[in-house]
């Protein structure tokens, strides 16, 4: 922790609020590992039509992201999809 961080230390009330916001998103989404796996497989199928992707390295998760509405944050589905090979269009 840097010197300046000491002064920027968040109040524990804010820490609690931030932690809860994240926690409730995953609670509410109620995405069991099964459902997440299905979503993952579907994404692989769709993307694979257009390019070759690394199915093993694919990572998806539900978190939150900044937005102009709704107090600045909204839930979001993040997917990190490594591409192995960009197929040339028309092939």
């Amino acid at each position: 922790m840097g010197f300046m961080d000491f002064f920027k230390k968040k109040n524990s009330g804010d820490v609690a609020k931030d932690r809860l916001k994240l926690l409730l998103i995953s609670d509410r989404a109620d995405c069991s590992p099964d459902v997440m796996e299905q979503i993952k497989n579907d994404i692989i199928q769709v993307i694979s039509k257009y390019m070759e992707i690394d199915a093993e390295g694919l990572d998806i998760q539900i978190t939150q992201t900044e937005s102009e509405s709704n107090n600045g944050t909204v839930p979001a589905l993040f997917a990190n999809i490594p591409i192995k090979d960009l197929k040339h269009s028309g092939k």
Binding site: N11, L23, D27, N71
Partner: protein, 263 residues
């Protein structure tokens, strides 16, 4: 028309029973006919909080099983003749009653009472299912802590799934000194996170402990918690009451008054 309100929280120890006792006594003070039902079979407590533990003859399970009539099991409050308690059974378990039986029982009580308050057990199992089966509205009690709020959120989801759409949030055990310091989530924080109608907030007040020791609800007294509960009762009746200023306890004037009010 009578209304059935379930007081629930998910997490234990956040003040469901205290809230049931005080809201019940408050509504009775406002001249409503009120019956409180303790649905926590096996771990009954509403009777001691109300100070009626020595008057129990029959209980909820006796009524459901037909060992007695409802009237025989109802205990009249010491102070308010229009307030009654249907105690729970202490030596049985949650499976002694099912949601249908609960509905039937409550429907019978609807004919005679304006408000039927159901004190729900902690958890989301059978006891919870029994308690919410007959409810028109729900009062979700939480404290400004991550664990209680998380459980409250889960409960709100389950209430929606069970088509109880009138849900009200009660933030209990608020410590304004900590909120001011930023070390406790504020009423607004909790309200924002759970996003249901806020019916009121009750401060963490020593008087609650004292009143529970004595077995007398403190609603309507001039303690901060007593006023907060009374305001909640008025809001339940549909009146618009501004949120109580929970900080006035620390004001110079109240301290001054407090000096003369000790006991």
């Amino acid at each position: 028309m009578s209304e059935v309100i379930v007081i629930t929280s998910g997490k234990g120890g956040v003040g469901k029973t205290t809230t049931t006792a005080n809201v019940g006594a408050g509504l009775a003070q406002l001249n409503k006919k009120v019956v409180l039902i303790d649905t926590d079979i096996g771990l009954r407590n509403l009777d001691v909080v109300m100070g009626l533990e020595n008057r129990i003859v029959y209980n909820l399970v006796d009524v459901v099983e037909g060992n007695c009539r409802i009237k025989q099991a109802l205990i009249k409050d010491k102070k308010y003749p229009n307030l009654c308690l249907l105690p729970s059974a202490q030596t049985r378990d949650k499976s002694s009653v099912n949601p249908e039986q609960m509905k039937k029982l409550v429907d019978e009580l609807r004919e005679e009472y304006d408000y039927i308050l159901l004190d729900c057990p902690a958890g989301i199992e059978q006891g919870f299912q029994n308690a919410i089966a007959a409810a028109d509205r729900a009062l979700v009690v939480t404290t400004p802590e991550v664990s209680a709020i998380r459980d409250a959120d889960r409960i709100i989801g389950l209430l929606e799934a069970n088509e109880i759409n009138k849900t009200h949030l009660l933030v209990n055990r608020l410590r304004m000194d900590m909120v001011k310091r930023g070390d406790m989530m504020s009423i607004e924080d909790v309200h924002e996170i759970l996003a249901i109608d806020l019916i009121g907030a009750v401060p963490d007040d020593e008087q609650i402990v004292i009143s529970t020791n004595q077995g007398e609800p403190l609603v309507g007294s001039d303690s901060l918690a007593g006023q907060a509960y009374m305001n909640i009762c008025h809001r339940l009746l549909g009146e618009e009451v501004p949120l109580l200023d929970l900080e006035n306890k620390n004001g110079v004037w109240s301290k001054f008054v407090g000096l003369f009010k000790k006991n």
